[in-house]
């Protein structure tokens, strides 16, 4: 039963597979019509407060687990008001019939305890119609202010066990927080949880900053800063908030910095005499190595997950298009051939897709294509969508959407790579240039 259910959900998740209706028998109800999936009903029992924990904390953790799973667009949490047999003990046997009766395909139970400043949250996941646990119970512990991370880790486990894919909830997003009118915009680097919680600012508004990227361990941020008066790439330590310029050749501008997968190398664009090419250098400093030599614009590079190739944009053909070349430079092959212009390519962490910005006939789109350029699919359309960044599991893309006109402002949005579940990512004000971290340790 669960096998069939998993297979059906996996087919939905595959995204690139033709969207045909999944086989349905019995109580398993995953319907796909015109690319819209019916979310899977699951029961998330309110987590129990044990051993000194306040019920409010357990309720908060339950709410975050629920928001994560529902926010993925793949699950619908059944209202606890419909529950027939409330969970009163973490250890007591599950009355499967009571959960079948409300058509819960899965059941999540959990409990939270507190000792000093240490919170422990444990959970179990059950396949209701197979009447069996799905994986073992797990517990996570952390300091008091890390309670949201405990919830995200539980939700990641549930997501991963049911979909067979990695999760993406315990992750961070670095972005540019914007204030002020369009012709006097102020920009600051900020970082937050993937869902907008726990926001903090990394720079003040005194210097224009653009397009940050976050390292795999979350401890470093690369970005473009005008602190010298000219754009140049900087590296910021998220622990100390200290910043240093990586490159500063007089008469040149550097921007578009990207980490290599191992975090040791930075790819970037260097503009000299109006010509922009790609370079790389050690993050620790050193001499830049030139990777492209063309009179055209080469920018917005992104390493493949194995670090062996680079996808980038160039207008060497006369308009912005996407190219892939070896990591050491050399011959590049064009992969974008549709109408319009293509920019800001980002290689999926799974390695199979490139997300990009497409500009065509006055509209902007976020899209994905395979790394050979085939199977291009546009996920969004608006006045101005740009700058995709991948979720840790390669299933969701976050990007900037800017509205038109004098009062126009940017905001962060995310969309599933199937094109479903488009939604705004909550930020306190205008926001742009998101960069999604890998799953945290």
């Amino acid at each position: 039963m669960m096998t069939r259910f998993l297979a059906a959900l996996a087919a939905c998740l595959a995204g690139l597979a033709p969207l045909t209706a999944a086989a349905q028998t019995g109580p398993l109800r995953i319907e796909i019509t015109e690319g819209v999936i019916e979310p899977l009903p699951i029961a998330i029992a309110p987590f129990l407060a044990e051993g000194g924990a306040a019920q409010a904390l357990a309720d908060d953790i339950t709410a975050v687990v629920r928001a994560d799973l529902e926010g993925s667009g793949l699950f619908r949490a059944i209202s606890p008001n419909a529950f027939i047999s409330p969970i009163t003990s973490f250890e007591s046997p599950v009355q499967y019939a009571d959960w079948k009766a409300i058509n819960a395909q899965g059941l999540v139970t959990g409990a939270v305890s507190v000792s000093g400043d240490r919170i422990t949250a444990k959970f179990r996941l059950f396949d209701v119609f197979s009447e069996a646990p799905l994986g073992e119970g797990l517990q996570f512990a952390g300091s008091g202010d890390a309670w949201r991370r405990l919830a995200h880790k539980i939700a990641d486990q549930v997501y991963a066990r049911i979909t067979g894919e990695g999760g993406y909830f315990d992750s961070r997003v670095v972005f540019v927080a914007e204030t002020g009118p369009k012709d006097a915009r102020q920009k600051r680097l900020a970082v937050m949880d993937y869902d907008g919680a726990n926001l903090s600012y990394l720079t003040d508004a005194s210097t224009l900053v653009l397009a940050p990227r976050i390292s795999r361990d979350g401890r470093q941020v690369l970005f473009t800063s005008y602190d010298s008066g000219f754009p140049r790439i900087n590296l910021l330590d998220t622990g100390t908030l200290r910043t240093r310029a990586l490159e500063n050749q007089p008469g040149s501008m550097t921007f578009s910095p990207r980490f290599s997968p191992d975090g040791g190398t930075v790819l970037f664009s260097l503009s000299q005499g109006g010509n922009t090419d790609l370079y790389r250098m050690p993050v620790s400093g050193g001499t830049p190595t030139r990777l492209t030599e063309a009179p055209s614009i080469e920018t917005a590079p992104s390493y493949s997950p194995d670090g062996r190739q680079i996808v980038f944009e160039s207008d060497r053909s006369g308009s912005q298009q996407l190219y892939i070349m070896p990591a050491a430079g050399g011959e590049a092959r064009r992969i974008s051939f549709g109408p319009g212009r293509y920019g800001s390519p980002v290689w999926s962490p799974r390695g199979d897709l490139v997300a990009f910005t497409k500009q065509n006939q006055g509209r902007f789109h976020i899209g994905v294509m395979r790394t050979d350029g085939s199977e291009e699919r546009l996920l969004t359309a608006s006045f101005l969508d740009e700058g995709p960044t991948w979720s840790p599991n390669g299933r969701v893309v976050m990007f900037t959407r800017e509205t038109a006109g004098a009062g126009g402002a940017p905001a962060l949005y995310s969309v599933d790579i199937t094109g479903r579940n488009l939604k705004r990512v909550p930020t306190p004000g205008a926001a742009s240039d998101p960069a999604w971290s890998p799953l945290l340790d």
Partner: protein, 163 residues
């Protein structure tokens, strides 16, 4: 079972030193240190208003049209006659483009203006270029009338040795 420490301990404390935006901050492009009145032919105000401090470009282009070449020729004459000034040429793009491409495009536009001024006899060491991409629009509507004003290269004067 699994224990983890909180890696992301971020404080909101700002340790970055405040930096002065040498180029006038938002809407940079006006000669911020304009001394003297526009009636004084050697004043930055005169340069800005009577000579013309900016040239405009077509969509996704960095080619100088006849009007741009005329303005830059007048700028070159003025710079050759007022040698206490150096200049930073700021390249800009309209909002219809991706952020980093527009940075590169702005650099291309600024460079086109710089090359023209050098060809007209302005000493190369008096000129630097800078790109703001689409970050500093002067017009805020989302139609071609505004975009045309934002696709620009602005010659911003400064005094002192070495631009």
């Amino acid at each position: 079972m699994t224990r983890f420490s909180l890696l992301f301990v971020l404080t909101a404390a700002m340790v970055l030193s405040a930096c002065t935006d040498r180029f006038g901050g938002p809407g940079a492009g006006a000669a911020g240190s304009a001394a003297g009145s526009a009636s004084d032919p050697s004043s930055p105000a005169y340069f800005q208003q009577s000579v013309g401090d900016r040239v405009l470009f077509a969509v996704d282009e960095s080619t100088l049209n006849a009007a741009a070449r005329a303005t830059l020729s007048a700028q070159a004459d003025w710079l050759k006659a007022n040698r206490m000034f150096t200049a930073v040429i700021e390249g800009h793009a309209d909002e219809q483009g991706t952020r980093e491409y527009n940075l590169a495009l702005g650099a291309r536009r600024a460079s086109a203006a710089q090359e023209f001024l050098i060809a007209q006899g302005v000493a190369p060491d008096r000129l630097r270029i800078l790109s703001y991409g689409k970050e500093r629009p002067i017009e805020v509507c989302s139609t071609e009338s505004c975009y045309a004003q934002n696709r620009r290269a602005v010659t911003v004067l400064a005094t002192g040795a070495g631009a």
